[in-house]
């Protein structure tokens, strides 16, 4: 089972590398969205400092979201999804492999770019470590929940828009606690509670999201 998980993940990573640009696109979108805010609300450092955590989190959430609609779509179109479903392991394992690859190609680059954007947004020095931790816990949740949405809308007309409508409500708790953690450490409170809640959500999503996504994928393969 672990071997299948690893090989599915390796396959998707290889595909991402050969096609190229997936991570770069996510990073570019991330940076672009964040850089709109100083232009929109004005470049006053105290304003930016106030909204930094929220803006960075929202942008990270959106960059994960826009990369999701191709998660299963390409595999459905070229028929490899049928082959993956025929593997002698439960489908959730395959889903988990694909989610892991998705996170490595979008979530991880976004996390690595976040400190730079923190700099641009005048984030207080106390916030960086917490932001990285919160994002390390939070972005996998985004990929996992997004996989359920992507699986439900695979092969559907205007699936991308529908995916946004379905997944966003479930992203809100991640956003709230992600921002909450950063805000807490910037204002001198311990961020532990927020981080622990994020960790709990991650545990729950790790168990439940692949099962739900696999159920939805089976539906698309009928």
């Amino acid at each position: 089972m672990v071997a299948v998980f690893l090989s599915v993940m390796r396959r998707d990573l290889l595909l991402a590398r050969r096609q190229g640009g997936a991570s770069l696109l996510a990073i570019a979108f991330f940076v672009l969205v964040v850089s709109l805010f100083p232009l929109g609300v004005g470049p006053a450092p105290e304003t930016l400092e106030r909204i930094a955590a929220g803006v960075i989190w929202v942008a990270a959430l959106l960059s994960v979201l826009i990369s999701l609609d191709r998660l299963f779509q390409a595999d459905l179109e070229d028929g490899s999804l049928d082959q993956l479903a025929l593997l002698p392991v439960p489908l959730p394992v395959v889903v988990l492999g694909k989610v892991a690859a998705h996170w490595l190609t979008t979530g991880l680059p976004v996390i690595l770019t976040a400190p730079l954007l923190g700099l641009l947004m005048q984030l207080q020095p106390d916030g960086y470590l917490t932001m990285l931790l919160a994002m390390a816990l939070g972005t996998p949740i985004l990929s996992l929940i997004g996989a359920v949405g992507a699986a439900l809308t695979v092969g559907v007309r205007r699936g991308g828009v529908l995916l946004t409508l379905i997944a966003t409500p479930f992203y809100i708790p991640v956003l709230i606690f992600g921002v909450g953690a950063v805000e807490a450490s910037v204002t001198g409170f311990p961020p532990d509670a927020h981080l622990l809640l994020l960790a709990a959500m991650l545990c729950g999503a790790l168990v439940m999201a692949p099962i739900a996504a696999a159920a939805a994928l089976k539906l698309a393969l009928d």
């Binding site: 559907v156 379905i166 479930f170 709230i176 729950g204 739900a212 539906l219 009928d222």
Partner: protein, 247 residues
């Protein structure tokens, strides 16, 4: 339960339930509204504004209750391939969404004079807003598929995933210390609300539930008839095509 997977049997049951539900809804909503808005005493702090509660609380309870019902119906449909359960879940969604909207709207109208603002981003309000969006996503997913059987299963999965939100809404006012007041109706120590307000509120809650049941029966019935007529038209078209081919 399996008895009622047969739409004809379900329709028979629905026809039997409908007049009772409709009359209960009319009577309880009528008396509850007049009692609550006209005769229940004003609150010692909130004055007459408290009367919004008689709409707000039942709407909030139903917004969550309908979703729970929808999730149970979805699970039933997924596990036992229960066709009527699918229809119940589908028919519930718009009703629940409207209850959710009424809850948000009345809460906002109450919040303006009481909290001094139309909206605060506290846990209760935010999670009810999320519930509203989940209802919308659920309805959109139904619309997205042409194959009704596929749509039913996809929507059922979404409904079950969304059920995670229900306990969060219910307990948000206890887990987080928010502006929204904690529960005063269903608590461990019994209701903490005076009987002069409790009775009209209970009437309204029963009324909202009976109203939901009435609308649900109508909607499911319409959906069954719609599918039948579609089926008949498809068969007629097939016959027509076969006849033309024969000529």
């Amino acid at each position: 339960m399996h008895r009622f997977a047969n739409p004809t049997r379900f329709l028979k049951l629905a026809d039997a339930v409908l007049p009772w539900a409709a009359v209960t809804a009319a009577v309880t909503l009528g008396t509850g509204l007049v009692w609550g808005l006209g005769f229940a005493p004003p609150d010692y702090q909130q004055g007459d504004t408290v009367r919004i509660m008689f709409i707000h609380v039942p709407a909030a309870m139903m917004a969550m209750g309908v979703y729970v019902g929808m999730a149970i119906a979805s699970a039933t449909a997924l596990i036992w391939r229960h066709m009527v359960a699918d229809l119940i879940a589908k028919a519930s969604a718009p009703v629940g969404a409207v209850f959710c909207f009424i809850c948000l709207l009345t809460g906002s109208l109450w919040g303006k004079p009481m909290w001094g603002t139309w909206w605060v981003w506290d846990a209760r309000l935010t999670s009810v807003l999320i519930l509203f969006f989940i209802y919308l996503g659920y309805m959109a997913l139904w619309q997205a598929f042409e194959d009704q059987a596929k749509a039913a299963r996809a929507a059922a999965i979404l409904a079950l995933v969304g059920a995670v939100n229900i306990p969060i809404i219910k307990f948000s006012v206890e887990w987080w210390n928010t502006l929204h007041q904690p529960a005063s109706l269903i608590t461990m120590k019994g209701p903490t609300i005076h009987s002069s307000m409790l009775w009209p509120l209970l009437l309204m809650i029963i009324g909202f539930a009976a109203y939901y049941l009435t609308v649900l029966v109508y909607r499911v019935r319409a959906e069954i008839h719609l599918r039948r007529s579609r089926q008949i038209r498809l068969e007629a078209a097939d016959r027509h095509a076969a006849m033309q081919a024969a000529e």
